[in-house]
Amino acid sequence: MSWRAELVAISAFARRNLQMASRNVFLVFELLFWPVVGVVGIGLMARFLQLSPEATSFILIGQIAFSTVSICQLDVAYAVLYDVWSKSVKHQFLAPIGVRHLTAGAWLVGILRALVVFTLLAALGWWAFGFDALHAGVVPLAVFLMGCCLTAWSVSVIVCTLIMLFGAKAETAAWASVNFVLTLAGIYYSVAVLPTPVAALAAAIPLTYFLDAYRAYHGFPPEFARPILVGSVLAVLYVVLSHWAFVAAVRSARRSGLLLKLSE
């Protein structure tokens, strides 16, 4: 496939996700209501418990990361779910495209929506609770957001893989998986408080390191050495592994007939 054709195929999924998002009334809830409720709830709890500004920033970073990763990963999952819900899965897999086009196109829209949510929540956090997202500067923030979006990519591609393996019944993974990952990665706490076997799992999640690195800029000593490097290596590794798993799942769906069952 030429580069032009690659970009056109990627843009097909990006445009479709944008079109669907623009017609989805629940988008307001996804983008505004739940993320804002989350930040306000956590911020007020911090105020009630009289937490220090650093501790408030610590838990707000976790809450904002949760919304950012959720929104970004949902877009990629939607790229498959729209076709599952409308029973049109076979049409896109009949076309001469790879799963990379689907994931990349949807992920680009996911990044866009995640940036909107992050900006909104960071502004709210700053206005209501004095949280300064830019405290450490633009580069650490950009690295943190990259970590969130790369984690969202691999989580969502695993969700797509599960849908291709188990059908529509796996769709709840689209919403459940991010909660699971964020709980392990230390959403409101340091991973040091996790039981040893769970901490080992947490150490395998890239977001754990990006949260650690970003929180370090807000006055918390890092738990890990070279968190950005380790987080980036893990993130890239998971992107490759999850892509491979999705390709294998689509092949398995072609073999088992699930691809057709999802279209009937």
């Binding site: 896109q92 076309a95 057709l260």
Partner: protein
Amino acid sequence: MLAIDARDVAKTFRSGVLRRRETVALAGVSLGVPRGTIFGLLGPNGAGKTTLLSIFATLLLPDRGQVTVLGHDVVREAGAVRRRLNMASGNASFVWALKPPEILAFYGRLYGLSGRRLRLRIDELLEMSELTAHRRVAYNELSTGLKQRLALAKALVNDPELLFLDEPTLGLDPDVSVRLRERIARLRREREMTIVLTTHYMREAEQLCDEIAFIKSGRVLARGTASELKRQIRIGDVIALRLDPPDAPWLADMAGVLRCTAVNGRIECTVDDAEKRLAEILAALHAEAVVVKDIQVREPELEEVFVELAR
């Protein structure tokens, strides 16, 4: 030259975890579809028609056998095959909130179309499918007939050399079906497209298809043109008689008469060979002083062939 060359294709579906169930969908199908023809796959429900079509279209991997589509192996060179084919189903469905031009644009981009070329193609397909007036209507608000037209338009977005139509007129009103059939026939005529279609409607198959294959229980039972099939199956010709007096039950006992049934005041005798038996029957009727008021000789309908094969 063959558009599709399938040899010994087999597919078994497996389901259940604790109680493993196996359903044999195809049990060694060999089939060749010549380029530029309309080829019909007929058979009862669960015969394996859609499975075979899906293997040809690279949506399903066969367990055994080899399939070459437009010169490419469907398993090893699936990408090359996909570029040159497309598919429309009678029960097609697309993302509910998108409008017809958006749906066509989405699939057009998946086939590498963009910019002005894509816009022109969309306009052409909307016009050809008489969907221009409905271009601002969301997919879930379109009628069944319009959805079907859109499915066919989507299947033409990449100007395919090979088109698969799975029950294309399923659930459509008769007048809409007639127009869709005309459109399918025109596609072959004007674009020399190879079309493979599955259908339950014998009239549709007889009217559209150059060749037909009957599939049952995952095997091809018969293959040929509609008239060849009627001859192959040898279910006999029909001699329909209007008599005075109207009843002649002894006709059924004559040599070469397979069965006689009374239909709307007529007697329809299925015979092994109308040319040979007609004179004998007329002579017998004359001898019994029965007046023949009307007589018709016809080949069996494709539907009768279907029923015979599906038994």
